[in-house]
């Protein structure tokens, strides 16, 4: 026999008929991104313990005016805008940040705060997300410095050697490269913008390049998180070694 019951309005933040714990999706993002932001800010402002032997923290590379001739603050402040901008405008992080920090929406089929004016990415500041490709260009420049640092990390004062820090820096730059070269904007620039690969000059090699970037791009979220962890842990390792809390182990 049918029974009639009532239904409620669903307009306040978090209203949903979903029966699963939808908030579990955003909780790790809030914790990890929030934690990373606090750590990175503190480290950028610290202005010391960023190099040891052949190692240099990725937060401080390229090292600009380390001796404070013209810049009185931490040298990290001069460069962090580049990597930060690349991640903030990244198509994957946009999803994660809009969901976790702006609740726009908090999860699929879960209501947002009612009465909020919405303009998406058509008005300031979010219209600037359209400049993601420029942050990609900057990120490639930073990668050049980080690869240079990773190679130098194998050259100690007494010659070639391998320390734990050398491997940490190498893994970090590999993960950062994978994240950078799986970028959606790069996928567009190398070939995605073409309608016909077969009827354009350099179409076939661009198709191959597009396929490689597409392959990496399928795991863009994975690379985004792994590289975020690796850059934070690399900095932490170098800080601990530089401040004397940890001794770098030489493998070779």
């Amino acid at each position: 026999m049918a029974e009639l019951s009532t239904t409620g309005s669903v307009t306040r933040l978090g209203s949903t008929q979903r029966q699963d714990s939808w908030w579990i999706e955003i909780l790790p993002v809030i914790m990890v991104m929030g934690g990373f932001s606090v750590y990175a800010t503190l480290r950028a402002l610290e202005g010391k313990f960023y190099e040891w032997g052949p190692y240099i923290s990725p937060f401080y590379s390229p090292l600009i005016d380390a001796n404070h001739h013209w810049w009185p603050f931490s040298p990290a402040i001069l460069i962090l805008g580049g990597p930060l901008g690349f991640r903030a405008t990244c198509y994957y992080y946009r999803k994660a940040l809009y969901r976790a920090f702006l609740f726009d929406p908090p999860a699929c089929a879960v209501s947002e705060p009612s009465g909020r004016k919405y303009s998406g990415e058509t008005a300031f500041p979010f219209v600037l997300q359209n400049l993601h490709r420029y942050f990609f260009y900057l990120a490639v420049l930073f990668l050049c410095f980080l690869w240079y640092d990773a190679v130098l990390a194998f050259f100690f004062p007494e010659g070639f050697g391998i320390g734990v820090g050398s491997l940490v820096m190498l893994v970090n730059v590999v993960l950062l490269s994978t994240y950078t070269f799986s970028c959606h904007s790069l996928r567009h620039l190398v070939g995605g913008k073409l309608d016909c690969f077969s009827c354009t000059a350099f179409g076939p090699p661009r198709h191959s390049a597009w396929r490689v970037v597409s392959f990496l791009n399928e795991r863009h979220m994975l690379w985004a998180w792994m590289s975020l962890f690796s850059v934070g842990l690399t900095d932490l390792y170098i800080r601990l070694v530089s401040s004397g809390y940890l001794k770098d182990i030489r493998i070779l």
């Binding site: 999803k95 913008k193 690969f197 077969s198």
Partner: protein, 246 residues
Amino acid sequence: MSDVTMRVFRGDRDGGGPVDYRVALTPGMVVLDALHAIQAHQAPDLAVRWNCKAAKCGSCSAEVNGRPRLACKTRMDALPLDKPITVYPLKAFPVIKDLVTDVSWNYKVNAKIPAFTPRPDVKWKMEQRDVDRVQEFRKCIECFLCQDVCHVLRDHGKKEQFGGPRFFVRVASLEMHPLDSVSRTKLLKEELGIGLCNITKCCTEVCPEEIHITDNAIIPLKERVVDEFYDPLTMLVRKIRGAKRD
């Protein structure tokens, strides 16, 4: 055989509410089977839109336990059976009766999109690598689950300014077609409001055909709009070359 409670929305444009029905579970049962059992034995006037029962016609879209799904593709044994299973109409569209909604707005949006327009001297020969991308988009069954879950339509009600994921997929299938000659980037920016999409990927999550709507359609289209309207370097190069904006 055990029973399960189905909590089904009953009502029309003037309002309504959920009604509970007890339904006997059978092996391999899907939500649409349960709705048919209700129609057959308890509520012959229950309105449900369906056709193929094979997840190919896109008719039986509904919100099952709060998630937009095809009723014919949602197995009962995949749902928690100790609590009532809620079945509601698509929230983003006006209810006609019970689980049937008025999705005609979608066809009005579709009418704004210029159809496939081949070049005048086109040779009807294409290479597979040139149509790989487009073939994925052709899998769309127009169930409108992506439209329903998109918060721009669902929560913000921007039906006047926004086309929705389904039509970005359609535009992508035309824009990336190797033989098409029309540019739809201005339409995307100005009439279909692609800038309102903030890439939260819910459309991709609910697509029963597993089309990578966000990564393969919306983001590439956003990048084409950036080429045309936001990237100063590309705009400068176009100006130097004297190319016209479509």
